[in-house]
Symmetry: C2
Subunit: 340 residues, 2 copies
């Protein structure tokens, strides 16, 4: 698989997310095709009924893999995965570990997906610590931010690995030929930031594409294609950006609909704004990627629509086709990871 053929299989947790299995099934039907098969993992009877309801029959590009259990949103992720090895999210990751799929996608429990991927996919040789990468829109195109929360702390030596994984992700998945890498800090000059960030700067100096520090406001400005940071800061910033988008849209709607000319104007600008939301809404970026494990693990938003899940599946397939995992291992100078 991977480099020999363009055909890719993605395991999708059909029981993950607020509207499962309805939206995961929609996503699978939208994304699957001759070159991309989707393994729908979960309650087989329920999934099959939903596929038939939506599509009339089960297409050749979709396979249903029965999983006896599911993990609820209130369970503690790591514990639940150990207690339920036959849950849909655990099985989706095991299918990747066993080589039956090249990537796993879940719009369910983030902590469970992280734990299952770490447990069943194993790390790429040489990777000290996997990281969550997210794609953020900017005026200059897409920006990869990592770590967005796989670990709550980072030591300086983790940053060069984050930079390398982010750079290869930007190349293989986003198609950016020479990604520029920035270190998230609180001032442009070297020497700004906390002690960890200052030490990380020194280690990043020789990283290909390193452009120095970037600040919070530079993310949406696209001053670099990759932004590296610790998982605490990355997660807080990612959620702050989501909150800001939601807040501005909410305020705008209520400001505009307060007057009659505003309401008329709102009708006229609506189609343009709807197109714009395709660019600025995080859901259209297909979620978060756990990088550094053998195979790609993609975590969608819990409230993902079928379209959002389809995007996550497509991007996961793109990463698998680009052979990201093999590139990570090669960049680390370690033995090549088996490509399936």
């Amino acid at each position: 698989m991977g480099r020999e053929s363009n055909r890719v299989a993605v395991a999708l947790d059909a029981m993950g997310g607020d509207a499962a299995p309805l939206e995961p099934v929609r996503g699978a039907l939208l994304a699957s095709g001759p070159e991309l098969s989707v393994l729908l993992v979960g309650d087989a009877a329920q999934i099959e009924a939903e596929v038939v309801r939506q599509a009339g029959s089960v297409p050749a590009s979709i396979e249903i893999v029965p999983a006896a259990e599911r993990i609820a949103s209130e369970e503690e992720g790591a514990r639940a995965v150990r207690a339920k090895p036959d849950s849909s999210v655990a099985l989706a990751c095991r299918l990747v570990g066993e080589g039956r799929a090249q990537a796993a996608v879940s719009a369910g429990h983030t902590g469970a997906m992280l734990a299952a991927a770490t447990l069943y996919m194993r790390r790429v040789p040489g990777v000290i610590r996997p990281a969550i990468a997210v794609v953020i829109p900017s005026v200059r195109g897409q920006v990869v931010l990592l770590d967005a929360g796989a670990s709550a702390e980072a030591r300086p030596e983790h940053y060069p690995q984050y930079a390398m994984m982010g750079r290869l992700f930007a190349q293989d998945v986003l198609g950016i030929p020479e990604p520029r890498v920035g270190l998230l800090s609180i001032g442009e000059e070297e020497g700004r930031g906390n002690e960890t960030v200052q030490a990380a700067y020194a280690l990043l100096r020789d990283t290909p594409g390193f452009v120095g520090n970037v600040e919070g406001r530079d993310i949406n400005r696209g001053l670099s294609d990759v932004v590296v940071t610790d998982g605490f800061t990355g997660n807080v910033v990612l959620k702050a950006l989501e909150g800001a988008a939601w807040y501005l849209m909410t305020e705008m709607r209520s400001a505009v609909t307060r007057t009659l000319p505003g309401r008329v104007g709102a009708l006229l600008v609506r189609p343009s704004l709807r197109r714009m939301r395709q660019h600025v809404d995080p859901e259209n970026y297909g979620g978060a990627y756990l990088l550094g494990v053998r195979g790609l693990a993609v975590i969608g938003h819990g409230n993902s629509s079928g379209e959002g899940i389809a995007n996550a599946v497509r991007l996961a397939a793109q990463g698998a086709r680009g052979d990201l995992v093999t590139h990570f291992a090669a960049a680390l100078g370690a033995e090549r990871a088996p490509s399936a």
Copy 2:
């Protein structure tokens, strides 16, 4: 001053900011009045000419205090303040230290203002470490975020002081009677976050109004009135929020003006959106407050307009009238700071 009288004097660095002294003079003329006098600090001849040009003569509520030097934006803040004790920003802070003004405002060099305030205003007895507070809009009203960058690291014992200062600021300056305090983290439950944040949680448990962890997206949701965090995370988040507002406005404008109905609609919604920007634009919140020094130090945006500077001056005066400094000292159980 302070509690005995409502009259307050604010020292304003007339040479700070991209359009100085024009915009600082505009701000001073807008904000000053019978109960608020402004001391304009800087090149006396230049300031007087600008005041006369704008207002015809120098009003009784404005005093011009000559300062021989100014600090340029490219200078290193702390070093420049030590080298230029007669610079406009240093003198503005010294006027507070000497009791001639109750608060100092500069829209110039953040690092210089921080250094000058720390050097000339001295800490409130009992305060381990001053913090920068910023006011962020939310759907439920204004939110105080601190530390927004006074220090690059925080130890757990700093958080209860940040919480106390943020709470008193929300009461005295923003008029929120019982402010709720949240700890910025990467999950709602206790035990989430990095080691420092976990230890801070334990110390914050007995803080009045403590509501537990809040996440990045909860800032604009107004889940708490005060958000405490370390200066690295706070600064990155503040700038990310500014960047997101700028990005969404930019994308919206270009999306809407691409079609004819969009352009017509944009004309109709413009007045509503302009009013909305009053709420969402950081400039209207008067900048950043250095809390924990004797007297208030307010740092405006470098590109502040006269209105932005006037708001900063008014809020600084409100803090001085509310006797924030005395409240800090009382809350710390230390001797009461002299109120003028």
